[in-house]
Amino acid sequence: GMPVEQNPPALSLYEGADSGLRCNFSTTMKSVQWFQQNHRGRLITLFYLAQGTKENGRLKSTFNSKERYSTLHIKDAQLEDSGTYFCAARGTNAYKVIFGKGTHLHVLP
């Protein structure tokens, strides 16, 4: 299968709702990054994790290398959270980064 499987492909949320995105890995990964891509294509780094959990405001991410997954949780969704979210993982080759297919998030008023 795909080295990085990201779900869901698309997600619609009302403002104020909570939700989560997930990436599953077919092999053991050393680190994972989560990005938000805005309408201009700019990739904004949300998190970089080699293990464990990180939080930043309304966002929280977890990476479990042993269980081969990572999650991004969005709390109290806001209109400006709309965009495409990608996870990207690095395996044993530190120079190769593999992206998931992305989640198109639409926050509704």
Partner: protein, 114 residues
């Protein structure tokens, strides 16, 4: 000041014409450099990476070439563009001395091949 600069911001080119996209890193010594491509509405695919001047590794073959003529410069090029080359090209860098650092991305170049 921005560390990573890509040029041009956007290009419209004819099929069969040559292409050269540039990426410059300021203020970082011997960075690792990367090229990525994103089809419209698609995910990002890593094309090349370079650890040092003159050394480039190919990850995905898309009839493109990359070169690293200087420590702070990474060039993506082709002699003949295909329609399938259209998309968004992103350059990224990371510190060679820290393999745990996440790559940091430039603003990208949007390419339309007609």
């Amino acid at each position: 000041a921005q560390t990573i600069h890509q040029w041009p911001v956007a290009e419209i080119k004819a099929v069969g014409s040559p292409l050269s996209l540039g990426c410059t890193i300021k203020g970082k010594s011997s960075p690792n450099l990367y090229w990525y491509w994103q089809a419209t509405g698609g995910t990002l695919q890593q094309l090349f990476y370079s650890i040092t001047v003159g050394q480039v590794e190919s990850v995905v073959q898309l009839n493109l070439s990359a070169s690293r003529p200087k420590d702070d410069q990474f060039i993506l090029s082709t002699e003949k563009l295909l329609l399938s080359h259209s998309g968004f090209y992103l350059c990224a860098w990371s510190l060679r001395t820290n393999n745990n650092q996440a790559p940091l991305f430039g603003e990208g170049t949007r390419l339309s091949v007609l």
